[in-house]
């Protein structure tokens, strides 16, 4: 007993992709306000193991908000109630004693459930493989300072590049659209001089892959931006649309 929060957890349990899932209810007590949300799940899991039950499977790794692995849908919001925070950085001081917390996996056709709260996000890797790069082999680069880049452009590219690929944008969107994710990479590279040569090809290829993966169209509601733990701006989607249409309309 480290703290005094007593909570009711309703957690989605699903054995694997082939089996139907359902909510199970658990009580946890003595939760400290200084715990992270995942440490609270650790407490529950340790108890389940002691009792001979199967612990709740969930994705996590760095636990400092940067790897993008954690992915819980908490009380109807990706990464829970706080703005600009991943689940691993969400702390229990954001909850109150006696509260009921509902925890689900990301829900999207393109992110099939693997087990409990773990989903398959490999679609994101395939979108990057389709064009999210600058084609430069190792060893051919000129001196880094021979290409000055205005600070504002570099800063804006960095802001887009801060995406951690967690998929909260998809989970937040009623259409399960991956436009914020895809546009962040397209924007980063479109804003930099190094990215110009492949600019139109990149936009077309990445958008085509995104569609093929089964992500939906943009809902224009801005839920993705509101729920993004890294504050990726929805302006990136506008830029992606400009990139895409100018590419499609000017293609030979």
């Amino acid at each position: 007993m480290e703290g005094n929060l007593n909570l009711t957890l309703k957690i989605w349990r699903q054995k694997n992709a082939q089996t139907a899932g359902k909510f199970e209810t658990y009580q946890v007590s003595g939760i400290s306000e200084d715990m992270s949300f995942l440490e609270m799940i650790d407490v529950l899991n340790n108890r389940l193991i002691e009792e001979g039950d199967d612990p709740v499977a969930f994705d996590h790794d760095c636990r400092e908000g940067i790897c993008g692995m954690c992915s819980m849908y908490i009380n109807g919001r990706p990464h829970g109630p706080n703005k600009g925070v991943t689940t691993c950085q969400l702390h229990m001081r954001s909850f109150s004693d006696g509260q009921t917390i509902t925890i689900e996996p990301w829900r999207a056709e393109a992110f099939p459930v693997i087990k409990d709260l773990v989903v398959n996000r490999s679609a994101f890797d395939r979108i990057i493989a389709a064009g999210g790069f600058i084609s430069v082999n190792t060893g051919n680069a000129q001196d880094a300072n021979s290409l000055p880049i205005p600070k504002d452009d570099a800063d804006e590219a960095f802001a887009a590049a801060a995406c951690i690929g967690c998929g909260a944008c998809v989970a937040a969107c009623k259409n399960a659209s991956a436009m914020l994710f895809t546009s962040a990479k397209i924007s980063q590279l479109a804003l930099l001089p190094q990215g110009q040569a492949e600019r139109s090809k990149r936009a077309e290829a990445m958008v085509a892959q995104m569609d093929e993966e089964g992500f939906g169209a943009c809902s224009n509601t801005g839920a993705c931006e509101a729920e993004c733990p890294k504050g990726i701006s929805i302006e990136n989607i506008a830029r992606m649309n400009r990139e895409y249409f100018s590419s499609v309309f000017t293609s030979k």
């Binding site: 306000e33 760095c62 084609s135 190792t138």
Partner: protein, 659 residues
């Protein structure tokens, strides 16, 4: 004891690498298509190696235990990456970066490797910029630099406090490009569980598909382990939850020597432990020491809040003890100094195991500079504060946010409370100049090897080394081996040696699953961590290490008779994954203590209480210990020591001084 041959090329230090590159065997493009390379790990070293080797035409397979290569823990590196560009015109050079690294490592690294690292450091920055990595820039559009510990020049390139993320995403993009082109086959949610050795050469791996639980056999003409460090042996560390030693340890048990396992880096600036529930520790980047000042109250057990303690009652102990480097002394020194103050009763916070990292002075300094820039002549204190905070936010915003998120305190208003935590392991698999382990065809890159940082790594050098190994070293050095393998056909994975290797892995898994004991994996991991932290952490002594070895042996025995792993082995089972990793940590921990016991000197991060100067600095014994300790596995609890003599031909070896 055999003498280890590091295969260092002939010639003067500055010419070795250039000459080597011009004379190393090449593999022609038609042959590259038939040569397969297995790469385990997708962090900076793994992703950069995979992309570069695939670009050259090799057939590459990449394995990572996470759901995407982009999650590797390199992503969490904050502060920056060093390179001897001398863009600041402040006297930097290849030699100076080489010198700083050798000295920072307390003269326990190999000269030839470190010089090569310094030579290619500039190429890394060029390569990353070409890939679109958005480094911080000045208004003129040129790259910005900052200072890191253990140096007096500004050679650190950065992207806010997310440099590792941006560099990894650059390497990941290059890797995904090769995946898209069909040159790399990617295996995510896969964990390597053994190396397959055929006739003394590494020929592939056994991997477990973590989702289906199935074991798979993969052939490779060469195997590259880019699997990071083993800091999680301490349970609490700044490593990711999944970071582990398993790949390196399995290789060790198959004949790869493990070098300097006792060299661990305790990072001085981490958020202190808040309770027993703690699952990991979070680093506050060393870059914060550019502007933050570290202090404790001059009075013991001072009950006052930080803001209530007047300036002349604060002890800026790093500035006091090391005026030349001040707050930017190397990590091992800063960590020990914090421990010394806390042990002496001057610690702060509820646990009294913390010191302050204070930005108040920096905020005012930046605020005044901004006021000047903007031509505001009579700025009020509030305006200065506000402008200063804006500057600090731009430099370190994400770190400040993270601190606030974790502690619930606002570091713009109150000084941060910090304490040292396990962060990096300088030890690792022994490799020669080619990055090859003692098993032919088996390589180790990045943090997984031991070679470049000696007994203490300087800040912003891990990213440099990971990318140097992957982008610029292995593409050349692997040719030296593969050129003689062009006649080796791909071995069928149905051959007996692969079948037997898989069988042995399966038996190990079955053994773990069948224990059906009473205690969780974490129970054992936490216990091991405490033993390691208490006896093999920031300070070590003979009695403690001997006790630790006995304790670890007993704990290992208990683990193998009483661990409880729920669920089954034939589907996603994180507890089973953890159990396998902790089983390996329970063996590694013993070797670390053994190595620490054997090294009867203090150097860098290895501080033996028996060997210190009068003012508490590490006391090396160059007569007896100027060697790399490379351990050969001989059976449970049995390790044979081999030595690689370290020769310093270009640097005058001296007592490290940062005063």
């Amino acid at each position: 004891m055999t003498k280890l041959d590091a295969k260092i090329p002939e010639g003067s230090l500055a010419e070795k690498w250039t000459k080597y590159r011009s004379s190393v065997s090449l593999v022609n493009p038609a042959n590259k298509r038939n040569l397969e390379v297995v790469i385990v790990g997708s962090g900076l070293a793994g992703a950069s190696a995979a992309a570069s080797l695939a670009e050259l035409g090799y057939k590459v397979k990449v394995f990572c235990f996470q759901d995407s290569p982009r999650r590797a823990h390199s992503i969490a590196a904050q502060g920056g990456i060093n390179a001897a560009k001398n863009y600041q015109n402040d006297g930097d050079s290849t030699f100076r970066l080489f010198y700083d690294t050798i000295k920072g490592g307390d003269y326990r690294a190999r000269e030839a490797n470190v010089h090569r690292l310094a030579e290619v450091s500039s190429n890394i920055i060029d390569q990353c910029v070409a890939q679109g990595v958005p480094f911080a820039r000045e208004y003129g559009g040129l790259l910005s630099n900052r200072s890191f510990g253990g140096t007096q020049v500004q050679r650190t390139f950065y992207a806010a406090g997310q440099t590792g993320q941006q560099l990894l995403l650059g390497a990941y993009s290059a890797l995904q490009r090769q995946v898209g082109m069909g040159n790399v086959e990617l295996f995510t949610r896969h964990e390597m569980l053994d190396v397959v050795v055929v006739d003394g050469k590494a020929r592939g791996i056994i991997a477990r598909d973590l989702v289906s639980g199935e074991l798979e056999r993969h052939f490779g003409h060469a195997v590259l382990l880019c699997t990071g460090g083993y800091g999680n042996v301490f349970y609490l560390s700044t490593n990711a939850m999944g970071s582990n030693v398993t790949a390196a340890w399995k290789a060790h048990k198959k004949g790869a020597y493990f070098a300097n396992p006792c060299y661990t880096q305790i990072h001085p600036t981490c958020i202190p432990v808040s309770g027993d529930h703690q699952s990991k520790l979070t680093l506050m980047s060393e870059s914060l020491r550019n502007d933050g000042r570290i202090w404790v109250p001059k009075k013991k057990d001072d009950p006052r809040k930080a803001n209530e303690i007047p300036e002349d009652e604060r002890d800026y102990y790093l500035e006091r003890r090391y005026p030349a480097f001040g707050n930017l002394v190397p990590r091992d020194i800063a960590s020990r100094a914090a421990k010394e103050r806390c042990d002496a009763g001057y610690g702060v916070g509820t646990s009294k195991m913390a010191v302050y990292l204070d930005f108040a002075a920096a905020i005012i300094r930046y605020g005044k500079a901004e006021a000047n820039k903007r031509n505001i002549h009579h700025a009020s204190d509030e305006e200065i504060q506000l402008m200063g905070k804006e500057v600090v936010n731009e430099k370190y915003g994400n770190l400040f946010d993270m601190y606030k998120q974790i502690t619930g305190e606002d570091p713009y208003e109150l000084p941060m409370r910090i304490y040292p935590a396990v962060h990096y392991t300088m030890g690792g698999l022994w490799v020669d100049y080619n990055l090859m382990t003692t098993v032919p065809g088996l390589y180790a890159l990045g943090e997984a090897n031991f070679s470049d940082h000696g007994a203490n790594r300087l800040g912003a050098s891990a990213l440099m080394q990971g990318l140097a190994d992957g982008y610029f070293v292995i593409p050349y050095t692997i040719g030296a081996y593969l050129a003689s393998e062009i006649r080796t056909p791909a071995l069928s994975t149905d051959s007996e040696v692969f079948v037997n290797a898989e069988k042995a892995v399966k038996e190990q898994i079955d053994k773990l699953m069948n224990i059906r004991g009473t205690k969780s994996v974490d129970y054992f991991h936490k216990k091991l961590g405490l033993i390691m932290w208490d006896q093999c952490g920031m300070a070590r002594n003979e009695a403690g290490l001997k006790m630790a070895i006995a304790d670890i042996q007993a704990l290992r025995k208990e683990f193998w008779s009483d661990v409880r792993i729920p669920g089954e082995a034939n589907n996603l089972n994180p507890e089973l994954e953890k159990a396998g990793r902790v089983a390996d940590f329970l063996e590694l921990g013993e070797l670390m203590c053994k190595d620490a016991l054997d090294r009867q000197e203090s150097c860098g991060g290895h501080f033996r209480e028996e060997y210190q100067t009068e003012d508490g600095e590490a006391l090396r014994d160059d007569e007896k210990f100027a060697y790399v300790a490379a351990w050969e596995f001989k059976g449970e609890s049995q390790f044979e020591l081999h030595k690689e003599e370290l020769k310093f031909e270009n640097i005058k070896i001296a007592q490290r001084s940062y005063k």
